[in-house]
Amino acid sequence: MSVSAHEAAKPGKGFRLDLKTAGPLLALILLVVLGYSLNPAFLNEGNVTNILTRSAFIGIIAVGATFVITAGGIDLSVGSMAAFIAGVMIIIMNWAVGAMGASIWTVLLGVGCSLILGIGAGFINGFLTTKAKIEAFIVTLGTMGIYRSLVTYFADGGTLSLNNGAREIYRPVYYDSFLRIPYPVWVFITVAIIGWVLMNRTAFGRYCMAIGSNEQVARYSAIKVDRVRTATYILQGLCVSLATIIYVPRLGSASSATGVLWELEAIAAVIIGGTMLKGGFGRIGGTVIGALILTSIGNILNLTEIISNYLNGAVQGVIIVAAVYLQRGSLSARRKKAE
């Protein structure tokens, strides 16, 4: 027996896969057309820059969330984690200004602390889920409450504001541009590219998918499941920290209202992008588009008057559901045709 019955790869297969990633893109394009037709100002350079810059926060966090969700976890704490990190950053920078005056070092100190806090917070989530074996939903619901409370406590119920001197130095990180693209967008692009490479071109990404798809198989395949899973939460924490680093110079403040519902937006971006909530399957590209879709919906609603303000949430809901339906729908239609 020597003849192997392989047939040539099905034609159109690669195309179909492409379409799967193209689903969210299609939805985004339709949204852009809608936005432009409602108000041509939608495509002004200024407005486009605004949308991109804004999506950076949710987008960066959502890239991290893609890993967590792909590996079968969930992180509800990201929004309050951002608020907490922002708060502590501000406290530390203000203290540093008091101790040694405002300088670039103040800002670097703040950034350093932010990174450490993000990694630490991610590690705590990961540790509690993997070692203490508590459901991720409960762990991160708990830490969500804890971080939110702590920032409220630190701010005495009010707002923590960055010292003006430090703020002047830090401000450009949000407001300035390189090649006419604001720095936050550069950070977003970088995070997205690194995330994409990690997910699709490294063993780590493959492990995340394997764990999310069947934890037992991963274990039997010599994958250190707990370690990889913890790493996804740390990665998530790191992404939150990066998002916070570009967030703080924007308004120079943090309060209990900072980052409220970011977790929901981040998860929504991930899922709109085609990643499955049950895990096993992650698409960084889709996530980026998902974040852009969410931000664009908010922007479009602000650019038009035809909808009662009270109904913003409803329109948002309808568009999200429709966008997801559209990609799934267009997909299965194509698939049917292919068969």
Binding site: A41, N47, G157, R250, L251, S253, S255, A257, V260, N309
Partner: protein
């Protein structure tokens, strides 16, 4: 401890700047009043929503057996009955800020005035702007008090010729204020004034205007009395020339009055309307509390 007079204080949780200030003032007043009056125990509870607040009121009665209640209702109508139930236990009732639908329940009413706030803001706009000028409005969260402010504002500028380009909710939140203002700036080439209604929103709006480099075209009117804003008014900031008071310290006033009911001899009843005066460069100093978090 049994013979101490217990006073329950039920307020919304510190989810945004104004409420944060309110929480701070409540906590400060508790410290001050308990130190001054050893026989008084103040118990502050915070709620995340009307139903949660109704539960808090139940707990204050069933667990703490309070002798008096200071309440800032999350919403007027849903909390009327729960407060009435507290009243029926014989407690002294002080209502703050948002009145109940049945004013006969309360013994004392301490209030800011949302309607007046809207009116004062509008009247200031009318002193600066006239026929054909354009303004945009950033509102809070869709709730009763936001609606009261908004309706009063709109009624006041009615007929002045000032043109309201659009209004959007910014959720009493700096980030939302920033983003909504960015979008207004992208959308409208000619804006002469902004009513931001709240100082947290104002801070976001100011950043957005600075980012667009359009500081010289317009001015912003906020509200509440945040110390940063008042400082700016004192220093003569052209972009935010005035503020409209909506004092978070009103809770402290209410607590003072309620404690007075127990420690002084004279009767304590009636309404204490603190009003929402316009804060200008001239009178700003008297509203400036640098130690408050708000």
């Amino acid at each position: 401890a049994q013979d101490k007079i217990k006073i329950g204080v039920s307020i919304p949780a510190a989810t945004h700047g104004f409420m944060g200030g309110l929480n701070w003032h409540a906590a400060e007043a508790e410290k001050r009043l308990e130190a001054a009056n050893p026989n008084i125990d103040l118990i502050i509870v915070t709620a995340d929503g009307p139903a949660d607040q109704a539960s808090d009121l139940e707990d204050l009665v069933s667990v703490h057996q309070i002798d008096a209640l200071v309440v800032l209702p999350f919403e007027s109508e849903p909390l009327t009955e729960p407060v009435r139930a507290v009243k029926q236990t014989g407690a002294f009732i002080t209502v703050v800020d948002r009145g109940l639908t049945d004013p006969s329940i309360q013994d004392v009413y301490v209030s800011g005035n949302n309607t007046e706030m809207g009116v004062n803001s509008a009247e200031y706009m009318m002193t600066r702007l006239g026929d054909g000028d354009n303004i945009v409005i950033l509102r809070g969260i869709p709730t009763v008090l936001d609606t009261e402010r908004f309706d009063a504002f709109m009624a006041t500028i009615e007929g002045s010729g000032i043109n309201v380009l659009d209004n959007k909710f910014a959720n009493w939140n700096r980030d939302d204020g920033f983003e909504v203002m960015q979008d207004f700036l992208a959308r409208f080439p000619d804006i002469d004034g902004v009513w931001a209604q709240d100082d947290d929103i104002t801070l976001g709006v100011v950043e957005a205007i600075k980012q667009a480099g359009r500081e010289s075209e317009m001015f912003v009117v906020g509200g509440a009395g945040m110390k940063e804003i008042i400082k700016g008014v004192m220093d003569g900031d052209a972009l935010v020339p005035v503020d409209v008071l909506y004092p978070p310290a009103q809770i402290a006033t209410a607590m003072d009055v309620t404690v007075n009911h127990f420690v002084s001899n004279g009767p304590v009843t009636g309404s204490y309307i603190l009003g929402s005066p316009l804060i200008t460069k001239e009178n700003a100093a008297q509203f400036y509390f640098p130690d408050s978090p708000f």
